[in-house]
């Protein structure tokens, strides 16, 4: 009887610390795939998240389509040059995440064509060199080179505020389409999002 009691006490002494450790340890979450831009993803207060970029590109595209500005171009489909989109936030990410999504939608649906052989620093230098060579060999003038309608430029900015431990950040994505022939702004759009909290969280 005494022996059984001693064994039980000893087992409790051994298992109790282990149980406490198990309770104190952070919940283990196995890596898994989630849909890109899904609300299940991590939400950070001081960073631009993928959800923010997808939301911004969707808002920009909706505005471009509903205003019909691309239909006003001389070329059909409208020819675009992608100029600088400046990331003026403390969050490090490539603005290509935004512009390539927009390009994919506009180019693949036939609503616009992106000129990758334009200017002093073209996106595709090889294609530009070949195009110039062909034009030279055929005796064509510069007018045979791509003649874009619009230039797309923009900026991403942030406004940070805090109260005690709580932080608040507003990110504003702004894009502008400039008519290259007139030099005037043909379209502009801002998409903003504000996040508040004191630490990153996993959405659900």
């Amino acid at each position: 009887m005494h022996h059984a009691l001693r064994t039980a006490r000893s087992a409790v002494r051994t298992l109790a610390p282990a149980a406490l450790l198990a309770l104190a340890a952070p919940a283990c979450e196995r890596a898994r795939y989630i849909e890109t831009g899904s609300p299940e993803g991590i939400i950070s207060v001081g960073e631009v998240d993928m959800q923010d970029i997808l939301r911004a590109s969707s808002g920009m595209l909706e505005s471009l389509i509903e205003t019909g500005v691309l239909k006003t171009a001389k070329n059909k489909p409208a020819e675009l040059v992608i100029d600088q989109v400046v990331n003026d936030t403390s969050s490090r990410f490539s603005v290509d995440e935004l512009t390539y999504r927009m390009r994919e939608q506009l180019v693949n649906s036939g609503q616009a064509a992106v000129v990758t052989t334009y200017g002093q620093t073209p996106e595709d230098k090889t294609a530009q060199d070949l195009l110039r060579r062909q034009a030279f060999l055929k005796g064509e003038r510069a007018s045979q080179m791509p003649d874009p309608d619009f230039s797309l430029s923009g900026k991403i900015t942030q406004v940070k505020r805090s109260a005690g431990d709580t932080k608040q950040v507003s990110y504003t994505f702004r894009l502008t389409l400039t008519n290259i022939r007139t030099g005037l702004e043909s379209w502009t759009k801002t998409v903003s999002m504000t996040k508040v909290g004191n630490k990153p969280a996993v959405g659900f």
Partner: protein, 145 residues
């Protein structure tokens, strides 16, 4: 003259104080909404009941669902969402567009977006179709709070 004190148990007093505090807290940030229009919009569609069923699962309601071709000939949908409860609600939504044959049109416009509705308040969730081929929409909603 002595004042007669009612013999209320302490636990009841604490419960009453908690109830009052909770009622006051619920009033913080609540919104009151009114509408001047008393008839359905010309562009209202009869999907309201189905959308409402969806929203009621997260304690919200759909007041009206409108779908129309905008000035560029592209479909646009707007859903008036109301929060008639006593709690601030956050939710995410995703509109997919389908063509006349019922096939989903894949696009970069169909992404999850998150919005909030304070208690007593309302919001409008909207989406623009990616092209003229879109004829109808599919809506997904999930809680985010």
């Amino acid at each position: 003259m002595t004042t007669a004190r009612t013999n209320v148990p302490n636990s009841l007093r604490v419960a009453a104080a908690a109830a009052v505090a909770s009622a006051l807290a619920a009033g913080c940030g609540s919104v009151n909404t009114t509408y001047t229009r008393d008839r359905p919009a010309d562009t209202a569609v009869d999907a309201r009941t189905r959308v409402n069923d969806l929203l009621q699962q997260i304690f919200l309601s759909a007041k009206e669902v409108r779908m129309f071709r905008n000035s560029q000939g592209v479909m646009e949908v707007q859903v008036d969402v109301e929060n008639n409860g006593f709690k601030y609600r956050s939710f995410s939504y995703l509109f997919d567009w389908v063509d006349a044959r019922g096939n989903v049109i894949p696009s970069q416009l169909s992404v999850w977006k998150t919005t909030n509705v304070p208690d007593g308040g309302s919001t409008v969730i909207r989406a623009v179709a990616p092209n003229e081929e879109a004829a109808d929409f599919r809506l997904q909603i999930r809680r985010s709070d």
